[in-house]
Subunit: 406 residues, 4 copies
């Protein structure tokens, strides 16, 4: 790590959707926030040499490489930011931690519990050496979500009774949408469940401070065969509807299109969860409602500047859901942005994430969510898969800390 007026030299792995979003955040974070460390956009890494060179120019990285192992080995890199598909998270992150690099890893942490356990173990080892790690559940840093957590933590909702969470998209409703990597189990690990279901699992546990103890689940793949893409990167793969991007050959969809489950939380709450890419008309609809004995909260990611809060301690005739426009200077993260009512967007959650990551690393504390936190989400995903595989029977969520014998 560089000295004096800490500079952290970032090495980003991946240049698709997440790579672009992280680049925007690294570029912006020190322009908006006064922080004890400055991010330097040092190197970007991707497998296609031409594309990664283009990405470096367009996104503003000083250098580029096609070899993540080289990146991890360099002396002039302080942070590895992992934005690849899930099948390479474990290998890259573990190597980076071993090389003494701080790691920010996109969610879900890994494609399997086994990998996630290895990563959490590596993070714990690295932590002893002052090397930090964090998993990118960026929605925790949407100001309205942070505010939800604060309201619950301060007791404003009383005892939490109900969680209802759904993350709904519709980008593969068309059966001609091609078989991109996100629809292949060996690359993505799972489908809607790991991609977007992981977000609502993390978000609701974060907000309520309660952990899911068990689930009964159904998963489904509505469209079982899709045309193979000529080429695909991330969500931007052109739909096959126009006849150009897909070929005549098809392949099997090996992940879930949708997952639904009921759950119990360790604080006594009941919950329903749903993750789907087949919710026609819902584009990025992460919706969460929490009901407590003293109040309720409602959040919708498509209106991420708003939070609805019901305060049951108000006089009965004046109770109602208050639509709070979360853009005031005394709302989380917002003092650095625009005047009240001037809304922020999706990308700002990443800027906020980078702010907290930089601050934690510079001040020598562990950022959250940790790899262990992300492992716990992985264990919930695993319980969902197990329940679905066993005809929707009840599946307990395994403990993060496995027995000694294991």
């Amino acid at each position: 790590m560089s000295t004096v007026e800490t500079e952290l030299r970032i090495g980003l792995v991946g240049y698709a959707f997440m790579g672009a979003a992280h680049s925007q955040a690294w570029r912006t974070v020190n322009r908006v926030y006064d922080l004890p460390a400055r991010a330097r956009m040092a190197m970007i890494c991707g497998r296609d040499s031409s594309k990664v060179a283009d990405a470096a120019t367009r996104l503003g990285w000083e250098g580029h490489t096609t070899d993540w192992r080289d990146l991890v080995a360099r002396d002039d890199i302080d942070v590895i930011d992992v934005c690849t598909p899930g099948d390479s998270h474990a290998e890259i992150a573990v190597a980076a931690l071993a090389a003494g690099k701080h790691v920010l890893c996109e969610k879900p942490l890994a494609n399997s519990v086994q990998e996630a356990r290895a990563m959490a173990a590596a993070a714990a080892t690295a932590q002893a050496a002052g090397v930090r790690s964090m998993c990118g559940f960026n929605y925790r840093r949407v100001p309205a979500v942070t505010m939800m957590r604060d309201l619950v933590a301060s007791g404003r909702l009383g005892t939490v009774r109900h969680v209802r969470a759904a993350y709904l998209q519709d980008w593969i409703v068309d059966p001609q949408y091609p078989l991109v990597w996100r629809l292949q189990k060996d690359r993505a690990g799972s489908g809607a469940l790991g991609d977007i279901g992981a977000h609502i699992i993390d978000l609701t546990q974060y907000v309520t401070g309660q952990r899911i103890t068990g689930v009964s689940a159904i998963t489904e793949t509505f469209v079982k065969e899709r045309p193979l893409p000529v080429e695909s990167t991330g969500l931007t793969a052109a739909s096959g509807g126009d006849g150009t991007a897909v070929g005549v050959r098809t392949g099997p969809v090996t992940v879930d299109d949708a997952a639904v489950f009921v759950a119990r939380l360790d604080g006594g709450a009941l919950a329903t969860y749903e993750a789907s890419r087949f919710a026609t008309g819902r584009k990025n609809a992460l919706r969460v409602e929490i009901n407590g004995s003293l109040g309720s909260l409602v959040f919708d990611l498509e209106r991420l500047n708003e939070l609805e809060f019901y305060d049951a301690t108000e006089p009965t005739a004046e109770q109602g859901f208050t639509r709070i426009l979360v853009t005031e200077a005394d709302h989380p993260y917002l003092s650095a942005w625009w005047p009240p009512g001037h809304i922020i967007g999706y990308e700002h959650s990443f800027t906020h994430q980078m702010r907290d990551f930089l601050e934690a690393v510079a001040t020598g504390v562990d950022p959250v969510p940790s790899f262990a936190d992300a492992l716990q989400v992985q264990l919930v995903l695993d319980a969902v898969v197990r329940s679905a595989a066993l005809g929707s029977s009840w599946a307990e969520v395994e403990a993060v800390l496995a027995p000694v014998a294991a």
Copy 2:
């Protein structure tokens, strides 16, 4: 039944919440609709002689009695309208059908599958003699709900993929709310599940034309002991919060406060259901969303004059959820009411129900939902109870027509 210009003499059993709602509808229906039969508000029946006399005067019934057996036996009554708690539905309805009276019975049809089977059998027998029966799932007659059914039936949603339904209330969040009959299993059969969960089961099956085949469920009673009421009738029982309506003694709550379950429908859809009386801030929030391959529908009973429709066959850039104000003359039931934009209320669903009931009886056809339809809902409720009792394992919904051997 009276002759010429058919008059149907109604005998209503029950004068609490449902009794008042039905009275309002019987009083109004022929003032609004031109129908082949006229309802005459002949007799009202209730156990407390003073109260039923008051109710008759206030609600506009010609006569009153405290003995439902007497009511059922009278020659000058054509229709028995059952608005009592669930524990007396079966006995009254079966006796009425045996006496040749047409029967309208509130939902849920009964407190057990056994009772419901007996009622469906009695209805089938009576039907052969031209005696009609119907269960009061009144929300089918909310114009927006009828319109949902019509849109799905005409193929506008394509293949239905997802159902998400919740019926949320909050009237017993306060632990001092008294132990009214709706919280006692021997009277009410079940709690939120049968009272409001039954509505969303019926409504979603009606709208999608699909039947639930199996469920995994959790039920919960959050507040297990409550003060005994000095007196209680229906939902209007005064809250114990003011210290007057409840005594110092308490009793056990023997029904569920909330029920959540995932389900499969026979057309291939996945579903989530939730019924709760602990959703703080939600007063009568029956919310249903249906996603199909060609479109989606969203309904909220607290805004019952509105229906949101997403039509995925429109040009991409113009797609969105269209908020239809269901108050036009060419919307279901509405040509008889007010000009566009002049909204109707909760009670109108009953007026519409009475319209369809009167018309069916007068023209000699069987009204829907039939007792058999309502039995099927009861079988779903039963599957939910069984799943919850067996640790949220999967429970198949029994067939309405039991095997001969049974």
Copy 3:
């Protein structure tokens, strides 16, 4: 007036849209509220003998007549309810008051200031003899509107700074919609201005407790010639779009299609008003927002069970518009209706109006709004017309009490 347990025998003049709405309310009011007087639906009056006979049967009136003078003269009528077009309000109401009948007169009170002054004078004279009069600005009795008034009156909004009010409809956007009576100045007095503009003038003055002192206005008739109807009654006149209800002849539209004006109120507030029948997609959209130094209120008649309240005395980070579902027992008029969340409709405003009218008459107090209040609204309408006629110059609103010399 009849004796003992006061019965008030109602004579209704008019059987179209308003006649039906008032009938529904008279039929319902004593079934829902415990009141010191009972309304008896005695006589209905209309010009077409066949139609009025049908209306009597359908709407539930004991008798009928085609001669309002006869109705007014009868000994067995206590109340005259005037639901005719505006050109006959003055003559009927003045005659009824002179005959000692209590009068409920639909809005706007009259078609001219001159008529309205005569009616207010007649009401003042009758008042001395214990004869009551009231103008039917029914929206004052929407519970959310009454609640707005109460909140402003109790100081919760502080000093009112802004009023923005619009009443938007779209039923004559089609140029082939026929020339019904509401589009003819000699019958209706004015167009959107008097029909729906009058409502927002009354409502905002009622809610704020402030009176409009002057206006600058624009009025417009977008479609100046329309096909003559073969027959028309009220809003239900069939659109000419289908080619059946209108003939080949056309006639001039002699009223405004839309009126917009800015205004000052006597408490210092600025206001904008708009009334239009050309607001495509707005069916019955009466929308009012009030901003005060301590808070704000928002109301929309198409969601009449809701009121949005912003309380600027709450902590900054928790401020927002609270959507109050105005269906609680401690909300105005609602203790007699259904449980929380079970919404009411447009027609209930009339039931509430009849409740207050019956109670006032029975207890010997003057109901509001009085004819003098309605005259004041007429004076505002007149100022709007004068301003528009003089090229949108400023027009002061005349005083209700004219100088002695006048």
Copy 4:
């Protein structure tokens, strides 16, 4: 201008709210869009040497200066971006154009018609030499607003009948909020009218393609005296509520707190406009509704990713306001951003503005809105001021091209 792969060296004047917003946009625009020119953040200019140095570092400008005349004179600057208060717009912009620099000037163009005319004349002269100019009405570049314009222009709304526009804020409701420059006529020109009223004038004229021909207006200053600030910059001036930022001395507020007016547009539409800083609870609520003979549009800046569209050519029973989530790749400006449903924020309107500006300059066409367009807005503001000064009498909007004699 630099050669090959055009680079445009930007000189920004002003480092407060607008300066920060523009900096964010200049920094981002080439990272997101492929453009024929690249913006180089060369110099920032401000009066306070310490603050401008800090701003340069924080916002990412290569150099800084306190002398705008020096900036304008430099050879290594291609574009002058004017973000100062209105009183210096004319002097800086005219000098910059004379020096051959392209100019982007914040709105309102000037503090008076006279200044605006001089600027428009200077722009016309410079245009002949290939020097470009543009006024920063950034909301035209909100994708939903651009889409509104496109829908109206393509005839989807038919004949536009109504415009209702309001831009509502509440940041000075507190009488102790200090007398910042925006409340002083000599600095700001006008108050709510020029600051936010100018936006809705431009936006509605842009969307409808119609120009305002005349107005009747009321303006008001509710709080006439305010505490003097110890120091203030832009909107971020600390409220005096905490007693620290303001002194004991007060000064007169010399601008309007609110302005309301009715207007006629040259295409026959009626309009209402309102600009206020006293609309409690409204933070940045720019709301516009357009009603046409075939449809309607509704936009709200606080939900800037959404557009409501009513299409009256759809079947009656399916008509309604469609909430379009304007985040699709085929929506204006959005192909470069995130996947559908991932919303953008307020700042993106500036990035889009810079995109269009860079593209126009690089390809040698005149960007819009031109200084002449902005002059026309100034003429509307002037008509509003004249009408208000003459007791809300009608004021015609002067023509942009003054008679020769002038």
